[in-house]
Symmetry: C2
Subunit: 598 residues, 2 copies
C-alpha cells in the first residue's frame, strides 16, 4: 500500500502530470474501489499473474498480459517476421485463445511505441477482444489508425493519448507513462501500480544523452521510479549479449556528416522506414549540404507523412520532393531515402539494382549508405545487394565499416544501469531470443538480484507474483505461432508448412492413371505432372520407366478380380515410384498418385 499511496501522491509533488484518465468500463471501476478498500489486509496474500503471449524466446511479436484477480491488462500486441523455414508466410502473430471468453475482463491495451513488433497484430485481434481501449503515444496512434485502413470490418478504435507522465486508472491498476529513448519518437515505458506493488515495463529502450528529435534520457525520473519501489521490472533483452553501451545518435550523426560532406554524387540511404530518428538525421544533413530529399518506398513515404503531420519530423519547405522533381537537380544535390536495407525482394533498393525501378538506376559515383543493422538471416541477401551496388559503380558504406547505425536497444552496461536505478525486487527479462533472456538474467545476478528473484520464462508460461516471491505456474497457456499468409490467419499450420518445405526440396511428382472399371487395367499411358524435381524434357527415359512401372503395379493389384482396394493400390504406386525415383536420382519428390476408374 505504501508504494501505491506514495505514487498517487507524487503527482502533486513536482512531476508534471499531463493527463489523468479514469477508464469508464464498469469492471474497472468496481475493482478500483475494491482493492482500495481492502488492500491493507490482503496485500501479502494477493497475487498477480504475468502471462507472455509473445516476445519471450523470440524477437518481435511482443504481447504481455498482467492479470490481477480476473482483470487483464495487455501490454503490446505485435507481430514478427517468419522464420527461414516458413516459406510463403507473411508474418506471425500471437495465439490469443487464452483470452477467448475473457473479453469483458480486458481493461485495456498499453502500446509502448509505434513499431510493428509491439502493435502489428492490433487489426487482427482488437475486434475479437471486444475492442478494449488502446493507450498509445501520438506516433503509435497515428500508425495504428493508418494501418486499420488496410483491414476491413474493423471497429472504431478507442485510443487514449499517452504523453510523458500520463496517468490512467483501470481496475486493479494505476498506470503512469514515462518516456524512453529508442529509435522512434513517443516511446513509453509504464509504471503499473498494482495492489502488491509497482510493476515497470520499460518498452524497448536505450539510454541516449544526445538523441535525435527526442529529449535525452531522464535519469532523475527513472531514479524516482526506483525510489518509489519497483516490485518487478520487465525489460528489453534484445541487446543483453552486447557488451558496453549502445552508440549515441550523436556519434552516428558525426559519421553520417562525414559521408555527406565528402559525397560528390547522389546519396542513396537505405534504412528502415520505422527508424524515424535516422530519417530525421538524413533530412537534416541533406539540408545542411544543400541536397533535396526524395523518400522512396510506400512505408517510407507513409511514415514520413505521418511524422511530419505530428510535428516529429523537421524539414524545411521544399526539402522533400518527389523523385521526379529531385532528379532535375544536379547529382550533388540529391538524396534518395530508400527502403530495402535488408535486401527485401520488393523494396526500392532491390528494384533499383535489378533495373526494375521506373526512375532510378545506380550510376557511377553514387554513394549508398546502409544505415541499419542486418536482421539475422538476411546476411546473404544484403550481400547480394551490396555486390550489385559495387558492380554498378556505387560506393557502399555500412555499419561494419563505420558507426553509421546504432541499435535502439540497451547494451549490457545500460541494462545494469537501469537495474541500479530501478532497484527491482524481481526481474523478468522480456523481448529476445532465449539466449538473450538468459544472458540478461546473468547480468541481473551480477547486479546483485537474487537468483530466486529472476524469472526466465517463455511465451505461454505463467509467472505468479506476490509481494513475497515469484513462481512459475505448472500450467501454461497456448502461445504457439499463428501464421498469416495472404488473407489466411492461422490456416497454415504444421502440415502445410512441412509440405511446402518438402516441395521446395525435391519438388512433386503427380501420376494420373485411368483404369478401366471392367477390366481393372490401366487405359493408355499414365499422365505425369512434375515440377521442381528434374528437367523433364531431358528425362524422357526416366519418365518412360515410371509409366511402365505404374501400369505394372496397378494391373497387378487390380487384375485379380473382385473388389479392388484403391487406397492400397495408390500407396503401392506411391511407395514403389518413390523408391525408384530415389534410386535413380537420390531425390525424394512428393509422389502423388491419382487413380481414376472409368
Amino acid at each position: 500500500m505504501a508504494e501505491l499511496a506514495d505514487a498517487l501522491a507524487s503527482g502533486a509533488s513536482g512531476r508534471k502530470v499531463v493527463e489523468v484518465q479514469i477508464l469508464s468500463r464498469p469492471l474497472s471501476h468496481s475493482y478500483n474501489h475494491n482493492y482500495n478498500s481492502d488492500m491493507m489486509t490482503t496485500k501479502s496474500q494477493q497475487a498477480l499473474r504475468l502471462i507472455p503471449l509473445g516476445g519471450l524466446g523470440e524477437v518481435g511479436r511482443n504481447m504481455m498480459l498482467i492479470e490481477c484477480q480476473e482483470e487483464i491488462l495487455i501490454i503490446d500486441m505485435g507481430f514478427r517476421m517468419p522464420e527461414e523455414d516458413m516459406p510463403g508466410i507473411d508474418y506471425i502473430i500471437p495465439n490469443i485463445s487464452y483470452l477467448k471468453g475473457k473479453e469483458k475482463k480486458i481493461l485495456g491495451l498499453l502500446v509502448t511505441h509505434g513499431h510493428y513488433d509491439p502493435m502489428g497484430a492490433v487489426p487482427y485481434f482488437i475486434g475479437q477482444l471486444g475492442n478494449p481501449p488502446i493507450y498509445a503515444g501520438g506516433m503509435a496512434k497515428a500508425i495504428i489508425l493508418r494501418r486499420q485502413e488496410d483491414f476491413s470490418n474493423q471497429p472504431k478504435l478507442r485510443i487514449i493519448d499517452v504523453k510523458d507522465g500520463s496517468r490512467f486508472s483501470m481496475g486493479c491498476f494505476s498506470v503512469e507513462a514515462f518516456r524512453q529513448n529508442h529509435n522512434i519518437p513517443d516511446n513509453f515505458g509504464y509504471v503499473i501500480k498494482t495492489p502488491i506493488g509497482n510493476i515497470v515495463h520499460t518498452s524497448d529502450f536505450k539510454f541516449d544523452s544526445a538523441p535525435v528529435n527526442d529529449l535525452p534520457t531522464d535519469f532523475k525520473r527513472l531514479e524516482s521510479i526506483g525510489d518509489e519501489g519497483v516490485l518487478l521490472l520487465m525489460t528489453d533483452s534484445t541487446n543483453a549479449e552486447e557488451p558496453g553501451h549502445s552508440l549515441s545518435e550523436k556519434k552516428i550523426m558525426e559519421n553520417l556528416d562525414d559521408l555527406f560532406k565528402n559525397a560528390k554524387g547522389r546519396i542513396i540511404t537505405a534504412t528502415f522506414a520505422s527508424l524515424l530518428n535516422r530519417i530525421q538525421q538524413i533530412i537534416t544533413l541533406s539540408e545542411k549540404y544543400g541536397r533535396k530529399v526524395s523518400p522512396e518506398g510506400f512505408s517510407m513515404k507513409t511514415n514520413i507523412e505521418i511524422s511530419k503531420q505530428l510535428g516529429y519530423l523537421k524539414a524545411r519547405k521544399g526539402t522533400i520532393l518527389s523523385t521526379r522533381e529531385v532528379l532535375k537537380y544536379p547529382d550533388s544535390k540529391i538524396t534518395i531515402l530508400a527502403t530495402g536495407a535488408q535486401g527485401e525482394e520488393r523494396a526500392v533498393l532491390m528494384r533499383i539494382i535489378n533495373r526494375e525501378h521506373p526512375l532510378l538506376r545506380i550510376q557511377k559515383g553514387d554513394t549508398v549508405i546502409f544505415s541499419s543493422s542486418i536482421i539475422p538471416g538476411n546476411e546473404r541477401t544484403v550481400q547480394y545487394v551490396k555486390d550489385n551496388l559495387y558492380r554498378q559503380g556505387a560506393n557502399v558504406y555500412n555499419y561494419k565499416m563505420m558507426d553509421i547505425h546504432a541499435s535502439g536497444h540497451a547494451n549490457q552496461d545500460e541494462l545494469k544501469e537501469l537495474m541500479s536505478l530501478m532497484k527491482p525486487k524481481f526481474l523478468l527479462p522480456v523481448h529476445g531470443q532465449f539466449s538473450m533472456l538468459v544472458n540478461h538474467a546473468r547480468l541481473a545476478l551480477e547486479a546483485g538480484i537474487a537468483h530466486k528473484n529472476i524469472a526466465v520464462i517463455e511465451n505461454g508460461q505463467i509467472l505468479n507474483v506476490t509481494h513475497a516471491g515469484i513462481s512459475i505456474d505448472k500450467k501454461t497457456v497456448p502461445a504457439n505461432y499463428i501464421m498469416v499468409d495472404g488473407l489466411g490467419v492461422g490456416d497454415v499450420g504444421e502440415v502445410v508448412l512441412r509440405d511446402r518445405q518438402s516441395l521446395a526440396k525435391d519438388g512433386m511428382f503427380v501420376i494420373v492413371a485411368v483404369v478401366d472399371r471392367q477390366t481393372g487395367r490401366v487405359k493408355g499411358s499414365p499422365d505425369i505432372i512434375s515440377r521442381g524435381f528434374i528437367y523433364l524434357r531431358e528425362s524422357g527415359d526416366l519418365l518412360h520407366q515410371v509409366r511402365r512401372r505404374v501400369v505394372e503395379i496397378v494391373n497387378q493389384s487390380s487384375g485379380g478380380g473382385g473388389a479392388v482396394n484403391w487406397v492400397y493400390v495408390r500407396d503401392n504406386v506411391k511407395n514403389k515410384v518413390g523408391e525408384f525415383l530415389f534410386t535413380k536420382t537420390q531425390r525424394r519428390p512428393m509422389v502423388l498418385p491419382v487413380i481414376i476408374e472409368v
Copy 2:
C-alpha cells in the same frame, strides 16, 4: 627471363628444395624446351590468360585457369554451398565447358589445401578432364583420396606430393610451392614462373606468428619471392573488408584454456571438421586438464583419423576414445568434439539438442563452446541451436562473447603487408564476394599499386596479362553455377529452381477432370490434389467452388461441338482457378490442370 633464371638458381642458394619433379607429359616437355630457347626474344609480345571459373564474386568454388600459349594450368577445383534460394541443392560446382576439347592441353591441377572450396569438385571433373596430374600437399592428398572412394567410376589419380619448396616444371610453367598459414596444415601458395614473369597465388592465408601445429609465417621467404619479382599476385579477398590483423591462434588458445580451466562439467566443442588447428587445440587442452576426447560426427572422425595417420594431429595414446568409452568417465573428464557449429540439420549438435542422438543429451552444467564463425545465412539456425542449449541447461560460449575463434583469412593489415613484401606489378583479387574484391582493390590502391594494374574481374572473364600491362578480354567463357542435387549434376537449372521456389511459397493445386469424349462434358466431380496451399480439411467450401468452376469452364469450352482445343481449355482452367484462389486467399499456388478424355 631474368626472374626465371634467378629463381631456378635460387634452389642452390640456401633455400631448402624438397623435391623437383618434371612432369612426364609429352606436351609439357616440348613446351618446356620451347620457351627456354626463344623466350629472350619474345617476352615482350608474349601473353598469359587468367580465367577464373569460380571463387570470384562468391565464397568457395575456387578454380583458376592460367593459359600460356595453349597450355592450361589449373589452380584448385572446388565447390561451394548453395544460396538460400536454392532449395534441395547439395552444392555448386564450376562450369568446365570451356575445357571441353582442351583436355590434352591441361598440364595439371595445383591444389592449395585440403578444404572443399579448393578441391571439392575433383571427383566430378578429374575423369572428364583426362585425369591430369594433381599437385597436392599431404593433407589435401589424403582427403582427396578418401573422397574419391565415395564416387564410382573414378580413374586412378596421379597425385604428386607437394612440400614447402617443392618445384615442378610443366609446359610453359615452372612452379614452386611455399607454405602459408591457414587453419589446416599443408596449405601452399605457388610461385608460377612463366615466360613473361612470375605469377604468385597465395591460396587462402593469414599471417600467424604463433600458429598451432604449424610453423610461423616465413616472412623472409615471402620477401625473397618479392625480390625475385612478382609480375602478378592473386590473393585471398575473404577478409578484405575486415580491418586490422587476424587473431593469432595463440590468443585463441589462451581463451580456450580459460574455459577449460573453469569448466566443471562436460565440455562439448562445436567446430568445423576441417578446422584441424582448432581440433588440435581442443585435444591439447583436454590432455592438459585430464579430459578424454570423443570425436562425434562422420567428417570429424574421418579428418581426425587422416590427420593422425599423417602425423598432423598430436594426441597421446588413450586420449581419443569412442563416445561410449568416454561416457564412463566423470563429467569433468569428458570432451566431446562435435560437428554442427552452423546448426546443420543432420550434424551432431542438432541431433543432441533434438534428442535424436543415441548416446548424448545436454545436461545441466555442460559447457558448449562454439569455436567457429557463423557462415552468412546460418545466423538464425545457429541461434536456434544456442537457444535450445540454454533451454537444456548448458553454458554457451561463442566468438562474439570472447576470442575463441580466429578466421583463417588475412585481414586488411595482412593483405597490405603481403603487397609490400611481394611488390607485385599487377594485382588480381580472388576468393570473395564482389564487394570483397573491390575493397581488396582499394587496399591495393592505398598500398601504391596503380589503378590500371589492378584487375577486379569475375568468374568467366578473361584477364590478358603481358609483361607490359593487363586487360580484360571482351570475350567471356561460361562460368555459371552447376548445381549438384543427389546424383544429378547440372540437371537442376533455372526452371526447376524457380518451380521449387514457387512451390515453397504457396504450394500446388492439381485439378484432374475426366471428360467424356462423346459429349465433351466433365464426368463426375474433378479431383483436386493440393499440398502446401491451405489446410484442405478445413477448406471444403473453397474446394467445392473450385470444382464447380472447373466443370463450368470445361463444359463451356468443349460443349460447342467440333474439335476441342484442349491446350486452350487447360490454360483457361489454370488462369481462372488461379485468379479465383488468389481472390479468396491472396496466395498463388501453382495450378496444374489435367484433362483426360475417355
